[in-house]
């Protein structure tokens, strides 16, 4: 089973941010002398891919900007930056909502189990 639409929407940005977090965790572990070669290699490989992705996205953005500017339709810089802000804001909202719901659910369970303990 494959889920979702790989590459599109907030998913791509989410995984990109995950790789950045992964890299920072590994740098921290390396500094503490607790790194593992397998994990370090994996994070460096994914980090290198991410760099390539970002670079190519910038190039495509420039290409599209040139095409759209030639058509004289509207400012592409405006469209691109607003697009990124919208996607980022959506990602923060979705991730935030899921995590708040998770914390609320866990707190509720914890409270229920304490009540049950106290009663019985």
């Amino acid at each position: 089973v494959n889920v979702g639409l790989p590459g599109t929407g907030i998913g791509a940005l989410f995984y990109a941010l995950s790789v950045l977090i992964m890299l920072s965790i590994e740098v921290g572990r390396l500094a503490l002398g607790r790194s593992s070669s397998i994990r370090l290699r994996l994070s460096l490989r994914l980090g290198a891919m991410l760099s390539g992705v970002v670079l190519s996205l910038v190039l495509v953005d420039r290409l599209l900007a040139a095409i759209v500017a030639a058509s004289g339709a509207y400012s592409t810089a405006y469209v691109a930056s607003n697009g990124l802000i919208i996607v980022l804001a959506t990602l923060v909202s979705v991730v935030g909502a899921a995590n708040i719901a998770g914390v609320v659910m866990a707190a509720r369970d914890h409270r229920r189990s304490r009540v049950a303990e106290a009663e019985g």
Partner: protein
Amino acid sequence: MAVTLSPVSRSLRHRVHDATTAHVDISRLADDLTVLVPAYNEADSVADTVRSLLNQTCPPKTIVVIDDFSSDDTGNIARAAGATVLRPPHNTGTKAGAQNFALGHVTTSLTMAIDADTVLAPDAIEKLLPAMMDEGTAAACGFILPRHVRTVWERGRYMEYMFAFTFYKPTQDYFGKVLISSGCFSVYRTRELKRQGGWSTRTMAEDMDLTWSYHSQGYGVRFIPEAVCYPIEPHNFHFMSKQLRRWSHGFVQNVQLHWRSVLKVPYLRTLVAVALWDSFFGAFAYLLLIPLAAILLKNPLVLLTYFIDLPAILIPTLVTAVKRREVALTLTSVPSLFVLRYANCLFFLEAVWSNFVLRRPLRVYEKGH
């Protein structure tokens, strides 16, 4: 008991795993492994599957083909190829049903599930089994690539897999929350699998159901990219539509079934929320918003939005393509990805409509590879 593992504790587990892997006698693990191959009318492909298992660098102890009351010669062909064949008294109706029929006969510590249209790379089992050395790991899966990459549908699926298994799955594995241990090639700890009651038939995606159950109970699920398998993917729209319908409904059904428990698992809840958002709103934007914007703005250049994420897909895909010497195949398959994505959108919205609005969930398992 729901145990939530933080990335750090998972990392510690990984470290134990890293240290012990080198000393593992993988053949001994393979001697404690039973492979289950559910098969319904798979006469054309089951022999290849059995042969690929027998030719492994670490062959399993037992290969069981469950001939799910096929009307063709699946059972005899599998037996002739060297497998033990079990045949239920009637068709079980689902792949999970066929697997559960055989699970009771399994006496080994590890159980592997492989589809009857899937062949493994010669070292796939050898590469996959070390993941099970960690007692906290309940399941592990490998890298999937279509066996044939000819039609537009196979090419689209090839691109999806190349991207997801190169970029998404390793990230999920790092954080200890692999979203799905794919049903076409996964190994399971038999004790935990039996404790779950085997593969559930309550949804159309038994592999997702099992994986999320494991995560909710604190078990580990691993992804091992070096273990490669090659299933036959749908070659035309008829078969692809059956598969996409099953997968879309399966995802929606699993969200409905597991949302409470998934919300309690950090990172998994974020993965599921992001996948759900993209599946629904991404599909909506893809099918309606973008073309509508192009019409309202009277500018066909808006349609370039469809291709804006192409570099994000192409770069990771090309990394694996270079390694596999499949750069030309990858580049010529790019247009097919957009065709399959369009179909994905349609089928996902149909699944949401059927499940949430019409309240008519898909209950009949239609085989489509």
